[in-house]
Amino acid sequence: MKSKIITAVVALVIVLLMGMGYKSAADHRAHSGTDGSFNVKETIFEHLGDTYGWEVPFNHDKSIPLPVIVWGKDGLHCFMSNRISGGETYDGFKISTSEQYHGKVVQVLDDGTEYRPWDFSITKNVAGLFISAAIVVLMMMSLKRWYVRSGMKAPRGFKGALELVFDFVYTDTIRPIMGKHAPKYAPYLLTAFFFILTMNLLGLVVIFPGGANLTGNIAVTFVLALLTFIITNLSGTREYWKEIFWPDVPLMLKCPAPIMPLVEVLGLFTKPMALMIRLFANMMSGHMVVIVLVSLIFIFTTQFSVGVGSVTTIFSMAFSLFMLMLDILISFIQAYVFTLLSTIFISMAIVEPHAHEAK
């Protein structure tokens, strides 16, 4: 009983302190903001989007500098992001505040207009990609090392979990669907699965190695979907192409007006498009909900009082915890769904003619 009272008091104090912290943070933000109020939309899109430096916890002004690599009108330029972080101009380059190129590096031309150069910068998201890729390589190499060293013994601990996931994806999903083609396509599918899974989970970690909203960025899912699209259509058999341009439907549906072929050709593009949008929307919305829930604390603290903010904190934290739990689940599900659907699309493209006749 006594310990419960102590816990309650400590919790209350923490919540009040947090509320005051939020208040000061919000005030600070409000003062620095252009219109004098906490800009929710800007905050949300800043967190969902890409930045040139990697922000550190508890300090909004400082960030880990990352290289900016741009191909401007006058050739290649490389410099660290901290040179242009505070709206400064370096070597003719600055981060734009204009409507068109908001938040992007632009070259200020002699006549004062902004020119958007080819931007190969190692932004936060690019660095996140490399970190994720490195983590995947480390994980898989550690699993491989286990097999080299321990031979037939079953791995324990993290490697055991890794093997379980691997087994689930390869032995229980790819192999039954692909059959004898599995070894040919498994490397792509497995790479995609583990890369997506790592990016998803890393996106949920809020501080440095994580925090980049990778799979919630359409560029990342676009590349993944594009790869599936290319592999699917490059490995398409004659039967697959015949099914698209001359499908097994009544003649009326394909001869005078090619209705079904049109639908099938459309299907070629909608399938990877759905892959791209599904992963992107799922991951982005998860992040967005958590950010909105946290932003609620700032909004209520600036609008009303510290007390209201403190109460909001409790609910916001509870809901964001729930959302983050859900996001962990979604991370697995979406990585799996992407792999599963890619597997199915590719296996549909490598269909054999006799398999069709047997139907």
Binding site: L129, S132, V136, V137, P187, T191, V220, V223
Partner: protein
């Protein structure tokens, strides 16, 4: 709409990162991991099959052992029965032999007894005859011991006496 337009730089780097990851993993990790896991799965399958076979062998061995034991028990019972029969036969035979012997012994005893009795009778007869003759001699004061007629007479008398008895 900023979120929905893919940024060229990120697409480029994503492609590079994925390609690097793919080549590293496809070359050094995936084939080896798949092979190792399949080998282990095969090993486990083989182990299970082997264990099942061993178990069936064991079960068979048990049945065989039970059969052997049952057979041995049967044989043992047969042997015991045989032995009991033989024993009974032996006892029977011995008993027969013994009774035969006893009968023979009894017969022999009877014969010898008869003989002894006859001997005794004979002796008695002789002695009684002698005695009677002596008595008669004394009565007639005359030695008629050697008189065969007398002796025959006495003998006859004695036979009569014996017949009366």
């Amino acid at each position: 709409m900023e979120l929905l337009t893919p940024e060229f730089g990120l697409v480029f780097w994503m492609f590079v990162a994925f390609a690097c990851l793919y080549f590293i993993l496809a070359k050094w990790a995936w084939p080896f991991i798949i092979k190792s896991m399949e080998e282990r799965a095969d090993l486990i399958d083989k182990g299970v099959a082997y264990a099942q076979e061993a178990k069936s062998h064991l079960d068979n061995a048990k049945a065989e052992a039970d059969k052997l034991i049952a057979e041995a028990r049967g044989e043992q019972a047969d042997i015991l029965r045989e032995a009991a029969k033989m024993r009974n036969e032996l006892i029977e035979k011995a008993r027969e032999e013994a009774s035969e012997e006893a009968r023979k012994v009894g017969l022999a005893a009877q014969v010898s007894l008869e003989q002894a009795r006859k001997e005794a009778e004979k002796q008695l007869r002789t002695e009684v005859g002698d005695l009677a003759l002596q008595i008669a001699e004394k009565v007639i004061r005359k030695n008629i011991a050697n008189d065969d007629a007398q002796r025959a007479l006495v003998d006859q008398y004695l036979s009569e006496v014996e017949a009366k008895n």
